[in-house]
């Protein structure tokens, strides 16, 4: 049970870190790097979520006997 809850904390941690990097880079005046940092953070999380959603749908397909 704890590894699932840990996943939530990881994603939240990444979100907070990306937000901090974004604000720090903005203070330093480097706007584009801030945008890149948030984009990269978003892509990492997106890959992780896509994997977990594909497992989720695979599980549903196996449970509800989908052939189509």
């Amino acid at each position: 049970m704890y590894q699932e809850a840990a996943v939530l904390f990881q994603i939240a941690g990444i979100g907070i870190i990306v937000a901090m990097i974004h604000t720090i880079l903005k203070q330093m005046g480097k706007e584009e790097y801030a945008q890149f940092a948030s984009l990269i953070g978003f892509i990492i999380v997106l890959i992780f979520v896509v994997n977990s959603i594909s497992d989720f749908f695979q599980q549903i397909k196996s449970v509800f006997l989908f052939q189509g």
Binding site: A5, L8, I11, G15, I16, A19, H22, V45, D55, L65
Partner: protein, 129 residues
């Protein structure tokens, strides 16, 4: 009990969502998606038990396998469509959620067509020609 774990995970996830929502709303939405997926994995065992029970009962009563398959697929489609539409509604896209629900209903009707034809045929056989 499992229900307590489910509720704690849901509360923790909602706290995380509120924490991350102002700076990064995308991450907040990602956390909601992940919570939905995780909570589903909690209920998957009991769902499989119920489905196995139904299947064994239908085998005993030698009901046609096709009916049970269609019913399970309809349940699966309705669950996925409801999951998707609720998530898109959370993200604020009510129109997309309505489209997903419409698509789910249409696929269910398409799946139910063979059963409807079977029912109508059996009724017609009862009627004296």
């Amino acid at each position: 009990m499992v229900i307590i774990q489910i509720v704690t995970i849901a509360i923790v996830a909602s706290l995380l969502v509120l924490l991350v929502k102002e700076q990064q709303p995308i991450f907040a939405f990602v956390i909601t998606i992940l919570t939905g997926v995780i909570l589903f994995f909690f209920i998957i065992e009991s769902v499989t038990e119920v489905i196995d029970l139904i299947r064994s009962l239908s085998k005993k009563a030698n009901i046609n396998e096709m009916y049970l398959e269609t019913i399970l697929q309809i349940i699966g489609i309705s669950y996925i469509a409801e999951f998707g539409s609720q998530l898109t509604k959370d993200a604020g896209l009510a129109s997309v959620a309505a489209k997903i629900e419409l698509a789910g209903k249409i696929f269910i009707i398409v799946l139910a067509v063979p059963i409807l034809t079977a029912v109508v045929e059996t009724i017609l056989n009862f009627l004296p020609q």
